[in-house]
Each structure stands twice: as structure tokens, then as C-alpha cells.
Amino acid sequence: MSIVLKGLSKTFGQFPAVKKVELEIPTGDFVALLGPSGSGKTTLLRLIAGLEGPNSGEILFNGEDFTAKSVKERKVGFVFQHYALFKHMTIFDNIAFGLKVRPRKHRPSKEAINSKVEELLKLVQLEGLGERYPSQLSGGQRQRVALARALAVEPEVLLLDEPFGALDAKVRQELRGWLRELHQKLNITTVFVTHDQEEAMEMADTVVVMNNGRIEQTGSPENVYENPVTPFVYSFLGRVNEFRGNSLENYTPYGVDKPFSDKEVGYIRPHEIGLSRTFVNNSYPAEVSHVNKVGAAVRIELRRLDTDDLFEAELSAEKYNIMGGLKRGDQLFAEFQNLVIFNGNTLRNSEFELPPSNLVLRPEEVRS
């Protein structure tokens, strides 16, 4: 089922939680609503489910106006952050609940319910645990029961609120891959809320970045990571260095020497910074303050000697070895040619004659 949100707003008392949100989700898409706490992502999910009513705007399911429809009529599967399993019911009864409460005419026979529940238990890999109570299961198992329960009613949209928020890192990692697979198998339009950018990037087909009740950017994980359209998205996704004031005054890669106001902020990702031992065009002297060699990438913390800004650069282990190893106090030259400058919320680079990606050589290329 496709979902379209048109100018959707929701206010709690005086507090606007969701502000004029426009969003289109095609059938079968796997969407992450990503944002910090208080960004309105959960409220947006609850609006789609019908657990909250919007103050204004429209919600279309398959092109049909569902704004005024009740939760029941929307036929959505909803998985709650803390599972909300019914404690006094067995796992079996929890999963069967949605089928058992159907009006007699539409209720499947007892045998049909049994086989459906067994099938779902198998799907979520909890066969044989039907007779247990929720309190006897681990967090990850409860999460899967919650999912099976939501799937039992054969929803056309699956909505998950911080599905792995309460689980430890290892279980979370397992469940991510598993949910991704499940989505491929069932191909139900799925929307999940998360504040964990890694989770959103890893699982979703489409990432919707939210902040302050608004959508900042929508796109594929690669797209939002590579081409953030607002400073918020830049700073929220992945590691990033921020430069202001003086550091920008000296930044004149295109030969345009415009004065920078204090509203202007430059962003660059650590892996986009080029490092070399010798001076190259437009590079700035910097001193190594810390080297972290864990994993495939080497993280180097540096201090610019001209402006005293601290920043982080990232090299592959291979490149790092070619450079011959670094230690605290080494002096290097750093290039910031991919620096993206925002004035408020607008991209400053676009004021220059050429977009930076066409002009700038990747720092790695410059260096080698």
C-alpha cells in the first residue's frame, strides 16, 4: 500500500510536534524516519497509524483519503517501542489476539488460527515457545513476538516505533539483518522510527531525516549521506567537521574571496580531508594531536596551526602506511577542498560559478 502525507500538522497543546509534513511512500518501500528525540518522528508514525489525529493535512492510503478513518479501519501493523505484549496472555494468545477479536463473520476457525499462529512463530523463529508468557522471554524474543502479533492481522503497512531501541547492541545487529530479510520476503510497505543513523542507513531503502517537526531531507541512504541539503542533515549523519569564522575566511578554493558572515558554517567529512607531508595548493598546516588505529580506517585528530581549530581526518590503513605512520606532534598539510558551506539553511557553495563536485579533485587523488 502506498502512503501519501499532505501538509500534515499535529500540535500538542502549544507544542507543534509535526509541522506541515509532505511525504510520499511508494508500495513496498522500507522507510526509516530518522531524527533526534523530539523531532516528531514518533508522532508522525502515530499519525499514519491513526493513534493520533492530525490538526490539519491529509493522509492517503493507495490514493484514498484515510485521514478520518479509525485505527481499526486502517489495517496497519504497529510494533511498539516497549513491545506492549499482553502480560497475562501466552505468546500464542498474544499472536492470535488480532484474529480472535474479529467479528464472528470474519473470524477464522480455531484450526485456521492455530496454523496461522504456528506459521508466524516459525517466521519469527520462536517455534515451540507459544505456551510461554512474555515475562519468560528475552528482549529480542519479545520484540519478535510483537512483530508476529502485528503481522497476524495481515496488515498492508507495517509501522515500527524504535523497534530495537531497548535491546543490546549484539541482538540489535542480528535483528536488523533479520528484519531486512523479512521485509524482502513479505514486501509490506514498512516504516520504522529510529534515532540511530547507523540503523537507518543499514536497513532502509529510503531515509527521511526529521528535525523540529519538519522533514529535512528524503532520499536513499547514499544520497542523504553524500549530499546533505541542510546543515542539520550534515551534522546528524555520520562524522563531520565543522568550521566557522576565521577558518572560512581563509577558505578560497575557487578564487572567490567573499567575506563570510557568522551565520555561515562549513562542513566536511573526515574521509574527505586530504593529508600530506608537503605543502600542496590551498592546504593548511596542522599538527597531529591523536591517532586512533582501531579497525580498517585510521582516525587522526588534528589542530590547525593557523586558526587553532580541532578537526578529525580519516585515512584507510593502507594510505596511512604509505604515509609512513604518524605520531602526536607531527606537522602535516591538510586540504579542505570538499568543504560545503551553508549560510543559514542555504548552500553557499552554489553561489560560486561551479558546483564543487565538478571542480574539486578528491583529496586522495591530489595526494598521490
Binding site: 516497549h82 502480560k87 489476539f97 477479536v101
Partner: protein, 278 residues
């Protein structure tokens, strides 16, 4: 080497606190109750049996247990309803209504009995209209039920209220997303969650009603075989200096109450067990 296997306890001194508990319970409950049984045992078995199987005594047992049970049942239903309203809705004067709930505890029961009698007597405010319908309330078992409902009223409200307050909306929302209507949500989700508290409240109201004397004597009319309750019968025996007889009736009353309350508590415990954190 000495290995310390003791579990850490929040309050130290298990021996001291347990000893205190037992002494306290003995002084307040066990010793007076034992005296009661001792007094009853001064009778011969035949006398004892004759006293407690007396027609009038049996009738008063029936009246007491029946009216107490109905009153507790009424309180369970309406107490839960009031707790629901107090927790789930905001309205003007909610704090006042909340405070009113405790009033039956504060009022001397005799005052309550007199007030209820004057209202429900055949010429009272409400009584006159019931009279038109041919229903007598004061001086019948209905009157006893009204008085017992009044004095047991706060128990259910006060036991259910905190449970409802703590109940997460999530469960209701989950039920709704799964397609349950309001009645199904209440019966299958909310009711099982409040059932243990409801049973506790019911047991308390029931126990309170079994022992109630002050308010009932005014409204019941105290007609032997019809509206005479056990506590009244005990007082009557005492006034006739038949201490052993009074103790005999009281001890039977006590045993019956104990087993009933034990059964209710067991049921409460069983339904609460399912509701452990999950």
C-alpha cells in the same frame, strides 16, 4: 576462612524485624482471637453445637454473609467505575470527588446508619418513592445492603485506582491496532490487568461488611430470622451475660470469614502471578 553467603538486604536485622512482626501480630490479632476460642471452649461440645445450630443463629449467618457479599459485589462494580472516572477523565471538582471517596471511613458508622435510615425509611427522601413502587428498603435486607455498601465503598476505589493510574496506554493502543473494539479491549486487556486489585478491594470490602455493626443496627430493624445480623446477635448474647455463647458464635463467624478471605486472596494471588513484569 569464613564465607559470607548472606544475601544483602535493604533493611538489616531480619531477626529483629521478624520478631517485631510476630509480637505485633500476636498482641493485636492472635492473642485476642485465641482468647475468643478459649472462651468458646469452656462450653461442652453439645452446648456449643446447640448454640451455633440454633435456627435464629443460622438465619443471622445467612443474612450477614449474603448481604455482605452483595454489598461487596456492588462496590466492586461501581468502585471500579469510579476509579476509572477518577483516573481517566479530567473534570471540574475532581479533587473534591476524590476526597469524598474516603468519607465513609471518617464518618462514625452509627451516624451513617441513622442518616441512611432517615433517607430510605418509608417516609424518607428516597424511601417514599421506593414505597410507591412497592419496594421497602429500610428495615429489610435491602437496607442492610445499602448500609454495607456505604461503609465498604472506599476499598475497591482505592485499590483499583493506583493500578489504573500505572497502566500504560500502550496496551490499549496495541489492542486497537490489532482490531479490537472498546468492549473487547476492556474485557480482554484492561479487566485482566485490574482484576487482582479488584479482588483485593472486594475482599477488603467483604471483610469490612461481615464485621459491621454500627450502621446496620439502625437501618435493618433487627427482626430475628429476617434482618438480624451476626454481630448484633453476639451483642445480644453479651447483654444477657452469655459470654461463652457469644464467643461460640463469634468463633464460627471468624472461621468462616477466614476461609472465605483466604479463598479470595488465593484467587487474587493466582491472577496477580500472571501479571509479573513482562
Amino acid at each position: 576462612m569464613k564465607i559470607n553467603n548472606k544475601k544483602h538486604r535493604v533493611l538489616p536485622g531480619f531477626g529483629l524485624s521478624m520478631g517485631y512482626t510476630i509480637i505485633y501480630l500476636s498482641l493485636i490479632v492472635l492473642i485476642p482471637v485465641t482468647i475468643l476460642f478459649l472462651k468458646a471452649s469452656t462450653m461442652s461440645l453439645a452446648d456449643f453445637w446447640e448454640t451455633i445450630t440454633n435456627e435464629r443463629v443460622i438465619a443471622s449467618f445467612k443474612v450477614t454473609f449474603l448481604t455482605s457479599f452483595i454489598a461487596a459485589l456492588v462496590n466492586a462494580v461501581f468502585g471500579a467505575l469510579i476509579a476509572w472516572v477518577l483516573v481517566r477523565y479530567d473534570f471540574f471538582g475532581k479533587k473534591v470527588v476524590d476526597a469524598l471517596v474516603d468519607l465513609p471511613f471518617a464518618l462514625p458508622t452509627a451516624v451513617a446508619g441513622i442518616a441512611l435510615t432517615s433517607i430510605y425509611a418509608p417516609n424518607g427522601w428516597f424511601g417514599q418513592y421506593f414505597e410507591l413502587l412497592g419496594v421497602k428498603i429500610a428495615f429489610t435486607q435491602w437496607g442492610i445492603i445499602v448500609a454495607l455498601t456505604f461503609i465498604g465503598f472506599p476499598f475497591v476505589v482505592r485499590s483499583v485506582q493506583p493500578v489504573l493510574q500505572d497502566m500504560d496506554f500502550q496496551y490499549e493502543e496495541a489492542a486497537r491496532t490489532l482490531g479490537a473494539n472498546s468492549i473487547q479491549t476492556f474485557l480482554k486487556i484492561i479487566f485482566p490487568a485490574i482484576l487482582p486489585a479488584l479482588l483485593t478491594g472486594f475482599a477488603l470490602a467483604f471483610a469490612r461488611a461481615l464485621g459491621e455493626y454500627g450502621s446496620v443496627v439502625f437501618i435493618s430493624g433487627n427482626m430475628p430470622m429476617k434482618t438480624e445480623i451476626v454481630p448484633l446477635l453476639i451483642i445480644t448474647k453479651l447483654e444477657q451475660f452469655d459470654y461463652a455463647g457469644a464467643a461460640a458464635i463469634a468463633s464460627v463467624m471468624l472461621l468462616c470469614s477466614f476461609f472465605l478471605l483466604f479463598a479470595i486472596n488465593y484467587w487474587q494471588w493466582r491472577s496477580a502471578k500472571k501479571h509479573q513484569a513482562g
